[in-house]
Symmetry: C2
Subunit: 321 residues, 2 copies
């Protein structure tokens, strides 16, 4: 559930005045993004999204995120373009929080992606990877293999209350991944959170990518592995190999995977399943009793992990090298 910071009329007017976007016509909190407060702005200059960065985002990371969107936009990737204020800055302050205005992107995320969406996603992601290659900034992925054990330890033995035997499964998997995680794959900027709600479509054509607040420098193929998990399983837990093939072929229509990347897909998919299971597990165990907001089910990702553990080669994802 999105957070909504209270913004006073005067603060808001003063903040908008620091931009060249005309007078304010409308200002509405929108239910998107769980980390930040997002508002839809109408001004005389058009439609924009105003984001207030809440405490889960490290302010030191904001220049990376904002400059990345600017770089990608300039290089033909449809994503929200940060608007410079009159002082030429992408970042300001509102209601005591870092704040930025980005252009409004038309399009809708699909609640139930079909094969054609997976194909579009693959191609769009590959274009983003290529466009990001000459981006000058880097950001470590704190939620990659070295971040998982400390993250798990915050849940620790309480994990077994969510599913008996979970501790043993996670510990074995951590041991395996730490020993076998590949470190020689092509690196670059990845989105790292390309779930369906971050990918916009207009009439089944990809119209834009949003929410770059997990973007980082990591193996490009890891982004694909995340999408295998986020887009290619059905709600009954079954793996849809047709969607996976469409995703991977779509990707390769723009950027071809090399042999190392091809071979690494199963372990990257295991790692990414574990990563989302661990963050969900942490949230699951942190939510107060009786809360109205239901956290996402960590066990959905346990099932995905179990599937990838049985995969011996990337050909199981419908891909032929």
């Amino acid at each position: 559930m999105a957070v909504y910071t209270d913004v006073s009329d005067e603060e808001l007017e003063a903040f908008i005045d620091t931009y060249d976007i005309g007078g304010l016509l409308s200002f509405k909190g929108i239910a998107e993004g769980v980390e930040n407060s997002n508002y839809l702005l109408h001004t005389e200059g058009g439609s924009f999204i105003l984001t207030l960065y809440e405490k889960r985002v490290n302010p030191d990371d904001l220049p990376f995120f904002l400059n990345l969107k600017k770089h990608l936009s300039k290089n033909g990737i449809s994503c929200p373009l940060p608007v410079e204020n009159k002082a030429g800055k992408l970042l300001g302050e509102l209601a005591g929080r870092p704040a930025a205005i980005v252009t409004f992107l038309e399009g809708m995320w699909v609640r139930r992606p079909k094969v054609a969406h997976c194909s579009e996603l693959g191609a769009g992601m590959a274009k983003m990877h290529l466009a990001g290659l000459d981006f000058g900034m880097t950001r470590t992925n704190s939620l990659s293999v070295h971040g998982w054990r400390p993250l798990y330890e915050q849940s620790g033995s309480r994990s077994d209350t969510v599913s008996p035997g979970l501790c043993k499964i996670v510990e074995d998997e951590l041991d395996f991944l730490e020993q076998n995680w590949p470190n020689d794959l092509p690196f670059g900027v990845i989105h790292a959170d390309l779930f369906p709600d971050n990918v916009f479509f207009l009439q089944d054509k990809l119209s834009g990518l949003i929410d770059f607040y997990f973007a980082c420098t990591d193996a490009l193929t890891y982004d694909l592995a995340i999408c295998l998990n986020a887009w290619c399983f059905e709600s009954d837990g079954s793996f849809n190999v047709t969607k996976a093939r469409a995703l991977l072929n779509g990707y390769q229509s723009v950027r071809t995977l090399d042999e190392k990347e091809f071979n690494a897909l199963p372990i990257l998919a295991r790692g990414s399943a574990l990563r989302f299971m661990l963050t969900r597990l942490y949230d699951w165990l942190s939510v107060p009793e009786g809360a109205l907001v239901t956290p996402k089910d960590p066990l959905e990702y346990l099932k995905k992990l179990r599937f990838h553990q049985t995969v011996e080669s990337a050909t199981s994802y419908g891909l032929v090298l």
Copy 2:
């Protein structure tokens, strides 16, 4: 906190296709209205609000609300205009719920109203009252004097856990109001929920009224009494007579109060303070332990009730007949 019903891609497309508003470009849940799910739509035809009516709204009341907005719009009042679908209907069904599309209204509600806003509000409300006089439908105010005792009884003796002695205060007040409530005041359509978040401004000029889901047929002056409570107290609980005078003078610049209405203002203000205290009290006692959503404080309205109990004449509201 607004509710968000899950709407599938196919259902949404099919629903939009029943209207002549062009193809869908964007669809976002917005954080407005606590009773219903509201979405901002961009289509090739413009910006709209799509509302899904959740269970707190009685479907039998929807024709009243929608036709009222249409009637007021036609008569020069700026409010969301319900859009007819291709079959000429204002109401459809989406995701198993009654659903309607209305035009998007520019403007923002003010977080901290000033005197000038109260004056604008008074004039805007009076215009709405006049425009509503020839509206052909009626709806009983279920939250007027005869609804308060049954509402109170749902909280009953638990009220004292919120504030010791509250039961006695409420019961005495109910006795007083039931015996003295005026029933010979000019009637018409009232909004009955004109809190600041339902009144839009553009540069300190009223630009529209929204959220007519408590609208009903009742004493016109009762709407004014609600606004005395909702707009004219400061956050420290003090009554701002300058704002009250601006509200009442703004109203009278369009529609003059008669002597009965003038004399009834204090009791109507007491009644409306009790009405909001009772609904808040009910919500306060109904929220589960540990919930993330904090209900509004009923005691804010107890303080307001206490103030109006000391008022002997409407001149205390800054008004001279």
